[in-house]
Symmetry: C4
Subunit: 509 residues, 4 copies
Amino acid sequence: TRQTDDTRKDKELHVKTTLRELIIYLVFLVFLCLLTFGMTKPTMYYYTKVMSELFLDAPFPDTKNTFRGITTMKDFWRFAETPLVDGLYWEKWYNDDNVTGDSQGYIYYENKLLGVPRIRQVKVTNSSCLVHSDFREDIKQCYAHYSESVEDTQPFGLMNGTAWEHSSEESLDGSGHSGRLASYGGGGYYLDLTHEKADSLASIIELKQNLWLDRGTRAVMVDFSVYNANINLFCIVRLVVEFPPTGGAIPSWTFRTVKLLRYVTAFDYFIMACEGIFALFILYYIVEEILEIKVHRLSYFKSTWNCLDVIIIIVSVVCMAFYVYRALRVDEMIEDLLSRPDQYSDFEFLGYCQSIFNNVIAVAVFLAWIKVFKYISFNKTMNQLSSTLSKCAKDVGGFTIMFLIIFLAYAQFGYLVFGTQIKDFSSVGDCIFTLLRIVLGDFNFHELQEANRVLGPIFFMTYVFVVFFVLLNMFLAIINDTYSEVKADIANQKSEFELTDYFKKGYEK
Amino acid sequence: TRQTDDTRKDKELHVKTTLRELIIYLVFLVFLCLLTFGMTKPTMYYYTKVMSELFLDAPFPDTKNTFRGITTMKDFWRFAETPLVDGLYWEKWYNDDNVTGDSQGYIYYENKLLGVPRIRQVKVTNSSCLVHSDFREDIKQCYAHYSESVEDTQPFGLMNGTAWEHSSEESLDGSGHSGRLASYGGGGYYLDLTHEKADSLASIIELKQNLWLDRGTRAVMVDFSVYNANINLFCIVRLVVEFPPTGGAIPSWTFRTVKLLRYVTAFDYFIMACEGIFALFILYYIVEEILEIKVHRLSYFKSTWNCLDVIIIIVSVVCMAFYVYRALRVDEMIEDLLSRPDQYSDFEFLGYCQSIFNNVIAVAVFLAWIKVFKYISFNKTMNQLSSTLSKCAKDVGGFTIMFLIIFLAYAQFGYLVFGTQIKDFSSVGDCIFTLLRIVLGDFNFHELQEANRVLGPIFFMTYVFVVFFVLLNMFLAIINDTYSEVKADIANQKSEFELTDYFKKGYEK
Amino acid sequence: TRQTDDTRKDKELHVKTTLRELIIYLVFLVFLCLLTFGMTKPTMYYYTKVMSELFLDAPFPDTKNTFRGITTMKDFWRFAETPLVDGLYWEKWYNDDNVTGDSQGYIYYENKLLGVPRIRQVKVTNSSCLVHSDFREDIKQCYAHYSESVEDTQPFGLMNGTAWEHSSEESLDGSGHSGRLASYGGGGYYLDLTHEKADSLASIIELKQNLWLDRGTRAVMVDFSVYNANINLFCIVRLVVEFPPTGGAIPSWTFRTVKLLRYVTAFDYFIMACEGIFALFILYYIVEEILEIKVHRLSYFKSTWNCLDVIIIIVSVVCMAFYVYRALRVDEMIEDLLSRPDQYSDFEFLGYCQSIFNNVIAVAVFLAWIKVFKYISFNKTMNQLSSTLSKCAKDVGGFTIMFLIIFLAYAQFGYLVFGTQIKDFSSVGDCIFTLLRIVLGDFNFHELQEANRVLGPIFFMTYVFVVFFVLLNMFLAIINDTYSEVKADIANQKSEFELTDYFKKGYEK
Amino acid sequence: TRQTDDTRKDKELHVKTTLRELIIYLVFLVFLCLLTFGMTKPTMYYYTKVMSELFLDAPFPDTKNTFRGITTMKDFWRFAETPLVDGLYWEKWYNDDNVTGDSQGYIYYENKLLGVPRIRQVKVTNSSCLVHSDFREDIKQCYAHYSESVEDTQPFGLMNGTAWEHSSEESLDGSGHSGRLASYGGGGYYLDLTHEKADSLASIIELKQNLWLDRGTRAVMVDFSVYNANINLFCIVRLVVEFPPTGGAIPSWTFRTVKLLRYVTAFDYFIMACEGIFALFILYYIVEEILEIKVHRLSYFKSTWNCLDVIIIIVSVVCMAFYVYRALRVDEMIEDLLSRPDQYSDFEFLGYCQSIFNNVIAVAVFLAWIKVFKYISFNKTMNQLSSTLSKCAKDVGGFTIMFLIIFLAYAQFGYLVFGTQIKDFSSVGDCIFTLLRIVLGDFNFHELQEANRVLGPIFFMTYVFVVFFVLLNMFLAIINDTYSEVKADIANQKSEFELTDYFKKGYEK
Ligand SMILES: [Ca+2]
């Protein structure tokens, strides 16, 4: 029985190695999580919330409408004349005393306005589209959807100043914006407000009186950034009103709350330490994987777990690179800004980068969590469950394809029948999500019924019957069957040397 | 083993044929999808949205109510005097300058009002119903539900002009309307507004002062169409306020956003090409199916797939026929319209046709997607899943009948107990959908409880127990059991020659 | 094989008999359904809707609050002074002309106000409760919850007229009301309004000025009925504001839309015919069941189906009895009413009876539908499904008890922890329904979290885990297992003579 | 067969004993439930409701905002000047007559204000945080998050009176508050209002004029308590507005409705009797468990049921102890209060204790219900179900761990990507609950989509697929499989002597 003894020893060794690896991995995971907790915190949500409430929920004095409800050009001016300037310039305390001296220039008395706000519009040229021959005599003007190629760059209106003359994206050193309807370039006609409420309001009214927004206008953006020293956070605000060629107006906004300046409090320095350790870990894993690749060559990439390892490493390295870039760029910008406080300061791009960075980190952390499963099949119960999942993967996958065909059939049907009436069906992508949400119980039946009194209910009823009553149960049938099989298989196997045995043995010694 | 070799060859041939058919079919499907994407696009939703916001969500100046919330005749006049005329006539820019010259007559400055808007009402005669003998002395007047037979055609009020004298459906060349409460004829008393705000408002006020709407009025409709040259779309608007014999008012509306003029942009011409190819495909399939029918005769129709083929072909041919009709009719109407810009132009019927056309196309596309399943059982996993579905169809069908009896019992119970109080139970059809929605988790328990404090909760509780806890699980049990059987069957079968083998073979050569 | 032949013949006979019974039963069911469709129709919902909108959703002129949002006594007066009198008296057309002559006295110009409206309050006496000894010196007055025993019957305030002197339930010939907080007697202090707006308003203001509502007031009710001759429906309205001993006010309402006068239109006479046929059917079934009882005696009641038969018959007979009573009583009341148009006319009780009648009919119809299952086990598939259901009944029942214990444990926990904060947990009954609704996905997690930041989330999480993830699946496991068993059993049985065979045989002849 | 006879007798004895125990236990449970019904009742919810409506839903006169919607310091003053003083001082009847004499000082004319209300704020010192070096020249002031260590205790503003001079927690004998953002100490700057509306309003306006709230303010609390003698309940109110260092304001509140004075009505005395009996029961169980512990020693604690017994006893004893403490303390406080009616009276701590007491009782009742399962496995069906549950516990547990890893991966991903934008993802804890709610169908897809147009939908789709379609079905597979096994096992066992046999035997005698 020497052989079995050997196998047993091998097993023991294997368990020992895996256990060591698991522990190292868990330490790595802890540092990664710590690091991410240094990146975001509940305060950030509250910051976003108070800033967005200030600009989005303040009612216009006459119609009691808000920014969220803007539907016409006139509404935009209503917004610009009252909630916008009231929100930007806090020149009075609540008892109507003036704010004086150093306390000026703070939104909510707390958030320093960095530089001045900028209002910018992009336009398309007249005749940027073709009028159908039947109407060509009656309709002389045609303003297309926005696209770079038809952007208007001619001076108009008063013909003087940046508000009436076009500036290119390069000259503004600005960044484009991806709105609800189109992606707008970074150039356009802009007006920089000042640090005083009265001046700014006067400029806005001048624009309005001279019809700054006209039929060619496709979007107007209000940009500004604030810095809160109490909590060391920036909030980079962009308020956008898009004017589709259909007429009307569609508001949107981004409030990016980001931590651009690291390392102020003690906790920040603790995070810095974590970041250092994390970098070392990544180095360690890089070396390890390179060694493994050297040994296994191409066959290395056949294992899903190895690919996952490589992806995590690559993502982490990317993050670190961006991390360094960010630090350098922010310093530069802030220096620049503080030396010229009366100019517009474009934090938009930096905020965008930081968001992307956060997303990439989020993906890295997600993958790192999933990797825990690599080590978990030690335990018998766990093994049983994870082999069920991997064994039914093929059938579930196959069924998912069948499921998707049905889904697509319903999605395209919904798109064609309800697309012009219901937001949730206005594009094929939305349709797919809407159908998914129906399965979960989040839908609006009355909207369907109103959009099409005959096909709406039929669509809903057959969909629920086919997908909720029948197809969804197939997933269950597949998993149920596989589980029974796996359980029977495992019951037949001889009990293997397991983690628990290892611990028992250690205990017996 | 020559025989097996033969069978094998046969199999190979079969696979080869099916594969060719599949590829042709997929190409057909791609063209069909492309074609539908030429028909509708997200912009259409935005167009519907901005147009409906303008008329439905604009508040009345005094009560701050909107069209959606109309409950009395007075509310209708409030709507007509302010949001309606303000929405129709954009005679001022946002800075209060007048809109001049060519720019006049555009809603949102973008959407050309085609012809003039029309306000039309249908009435029923007094004594169109019988008062119960007990009340006959006290109640002298009785106005029934609307129906063609009791429609009032007598002049009334000022007795002059189209607003006070009845016009028949033929003379108006109009179309009926299927409202929430009844289907109204196309005739009635109507007033055509003008292209000027002041004139139109004066006409409306004259109607109001002379009690144009009275107890006999059953519905009033506001009709107009706009054309947006920027995006080459029509929006055909009908605002309806129905006055049921119960008193009060019930608003409804249709905003049909349709693309009546094809072929303006380059993309349109690409779609035209697709349409051509699609027509060729249909021709090809017609020939093929005719050949098959000649061979198999009546037995051809025994296969569900063949029937599906025939249906798809028929639907497609119908679409093509309408397609031609539409093109001719639109041209004619627009010519007519442009020559007489001061008259009402009825696009309603055309819009209705276009909607039907869209729906038929949607059905065709849906069926075309389902047909993909005809080719999919190649793969073993797929086969296993689709045979499960087809094998459990009988049991699922049988159970569905049992399910329906319970459903109907609950539906009729709900109708009788809650029907007078809750909208979702106000007809048996609504009841069925409401019960279905309860299963998905979309319901309003408090409404039930308020409508009937005893039976409401009992109804809800037993329904959830019987249907959600017990019956729904039967579906699962049926599918689960069938899946196990099918899987066992297939495991016992000898592995057949399959698609993968085919590819392998090709690869080995 | 004569024996098998005999059995076969017996079978055939059995099938034949059952088939005949089924057909007769279906005819009966059709007439029952027809009958109920004569009782209720979608118009009734619209009638309820327009009437409730008029009184419940009309805003008060100053606070823009509505009846639904009443929270103080002052709010009640706000309601009474404007929306109530405006809703009751339509003395002007929408163009401000006066309504004259016969057209007066109609709500919405359509619904005749029957008699005059009545405002009634019930009070409790001072010192109807005990103040705790600690506070007895400081707090001299104590007004308990309403109960008959502590009702105040002393005159108060102006001490004259029905508004200030108590009238007993008998003298008013009124009926009690079961409100949200208590059941109130039919007596109290009342004021009958008049048929003129100005008079009525003056009376209401007089009440207000003299503090008609005081700390003892527990509820005030506004009662009136309207009759719509167009659709031959009554709407019996009761608006209630309860004043709990906690302070504040809680509004509630009932709008009973009932058809008290039958037989006006031709359709009504068709229904009358159906009712006659229905009565004959009931007679037929009574005779049949009596015969069966004579044969089987007590063992007759051992079959659930027989019991169901008896219940359906009893319920039907009760309905018919009430039906006759209603007809007589309505005639009498209307005669009385028309002879004295300036008095209050109490339709409340009749409306209540009619509601009960509707509910009883609803139960009868529900049971009648369920009885269809008695005949349905003919078919093999159906049999398989229904035997699964009946076979798993015991296990499902047992499990339901276990389920209920867990449910009760959670319900009482929720009641004690959230009961004072959340409406849905304010009584044990509500808790049970709330827990059921959580399973279906209809809940408000934020409310739970706010009510108790620690126990709220724990309660939710454990509940969802235990009930949604674990217990609910037990139902499925039970049904799934039973279905497999039943299917195996049936597969083993010899194929019996079945309905399809019967038809086949008939066809072969 | 004497042996079997013996076993049978043993069994019989066992059943007999267990049955006796069960009956005793049920009696105990009944008394426990009765007792809890004495603690809470639906009226308590209505009391909370009317009190919270009065202060939280009353609109400010100018902006129509309410306490729930406070977003700035100015809003707080708006609240304090109108809804607060209007809600606290009811000095006029609804007809504008003055409330005189004994009736003064009651909220809603019913609820005696105990002592005077207190407004208190806590502040942090300037320079309580570090400004980043880049901004140190421009930004001179920095006010950190609240924490005890940076609390401001210097006099400010007018420098005189309690409103402007700091009082420590000890001197106020107050209690801290755990708000949304931080836990605040019990000290601070406070103002006690008076019993007169005009005086109180004047004090509030003085505070406002002198900028009582400044950038250092982190929270302001309004505290008062009312007693309703009609229903013998206290309502202890705390309205909190927190001012985070981000700027803006976040309102929160607690309305604790508690029954501090027991034993007023007859029902109260019945409850007292129940409490006595309950105490005896506890005594009985203590003795029993001590005896059992003596017999079994440590092995006693190996049984889960025994542990549960001990926990229930401990919890009950704790409750009884608190019960005595409460009675003593309340008496003392009320005496104190009544002797000095013009001072602030802090019921907050007592209310908090009572809430904790209620929660502990709730836990005790919950556990007591669960204990019923100890006795329920008598019945065969019950046994079958409960053994299924206990047998699958290990697998369910194991799977729950796997489930949790996926959950955590998604939660942290959601936190990083959506944390700054969506409330439900603003902390990892919230993320977990949000993910759980998605499974139940309670989510806001549009919020996700708006927060991140790319990752939002991907997150949602993969989560639903992995968790709802796949993982959730694993639970079912586990339970289903275990149930089949258990059922097979039990079918193989010999039928044991059971409860039903016991009853049968008794019947046969
Ligand atoms: Ca759901």
